[in-house]
Symmetry: C2
Subunit: 163 residues, 2 copies
């Protein structure tokens, strides 16, 4: 697996799993009807640094995951980062999310961010365990905020790690 | 004082105190260098409902405060609201913020929102007392996230009220 900064040419490799994950409606607070154009504008916004994980697949080298890094706030709080992660659902359980997270945390620190916040982690998302194992803590939970297709109304964690 | 939905024509009345408050750098996580055009795009974005408080001033009826109401998340969490409030610094202490907040909370409930989140309340901001008196609680605090010109590094509260 190789992690590198994304280019505009990577988007067609990201969109199929991005769409599948968002339509699944279990982990992201984005509209399942988000168009490809809107999704690209959101994931690859100018203020974001975007990364991809590439791996060998039966069809050759392919993008198997992606992440973005961006300031979570502006002005006097601009040194707190936010990041988002998405892994191809066919490739979970292979450490791609963990590898992307470690890469992005190192990048954030190198870019001078002093901490990282996740604003809306669905409390039933298995990724909560991953973030906790990487040193994130739950600062608080917005109760019953997320309508999960299987779990019903669940909370959204705000998670934080100092850098 | 009268509170009503804003129109595009209200922006010139909002911008002078918006700019002054953001340049002050004590309460908002926006860039003090935000241009008038960018500020308008931010405060009056299409996804936002915007309100103004009008009052009599020595120069006649004027906009003395403004607020916006918008979903804080999309998709499966779209029924949690976010709001922002700004009062002319020359007109604080007259209940304008409280009146705007009550109006926006009633609007949010009428529009079907189930809760309201403030994502980044500077912990030394006197408005924390106002939000608490209106039933908001501090869900958690991002430590040392905000570089306050007088107080140094202070935390950012995430505050919440069920509707």
């Amino acid at each position: 697996m190789r992690i590198r900064e994304a280019t505009a040419e990577d988007w067609p490799g990201i969109w199929p799993f991005w769409h599948r994950v968002v339509v699944g409606g279990e982990t992201y607070t984005w509209d399942p009807d988000t168009s490809e154009e809107a999704a690209r504008a959101l994931w690859m916004a100018p203020a974001k640094r975007v990364y991809v994980a590439e791996d060998e697949t039966p069809d050759g080298t392919a993008v198997v995951g992606s992440a973005y890094l961006t300031p979570n706030y502006g002005g006097p709080a601009a040194r707190i980062a936010n990041a988002g992660f998405m892994v191809d659902p066919d490739r979970t359980g292979r450490g791609i999310g963990r590898a992307l997270a470690k890469h992005v945390l190192a990048e954030a620190e190198a870019q001078g961010f002093r901490g990282m916040v996740f604003n809306a982690v669905v409390e039933t998302n298995p990724a909560v365990r991953l973030w906790t194992s990487l040193g994130f803590t739950v600062l608080g939970t917005v109760p019953d905020a997320f309508e999960h297709p299987k779990d019903g109304r669940v909370g959204l964690h705000i998670m934080y790690k100092a850098l």
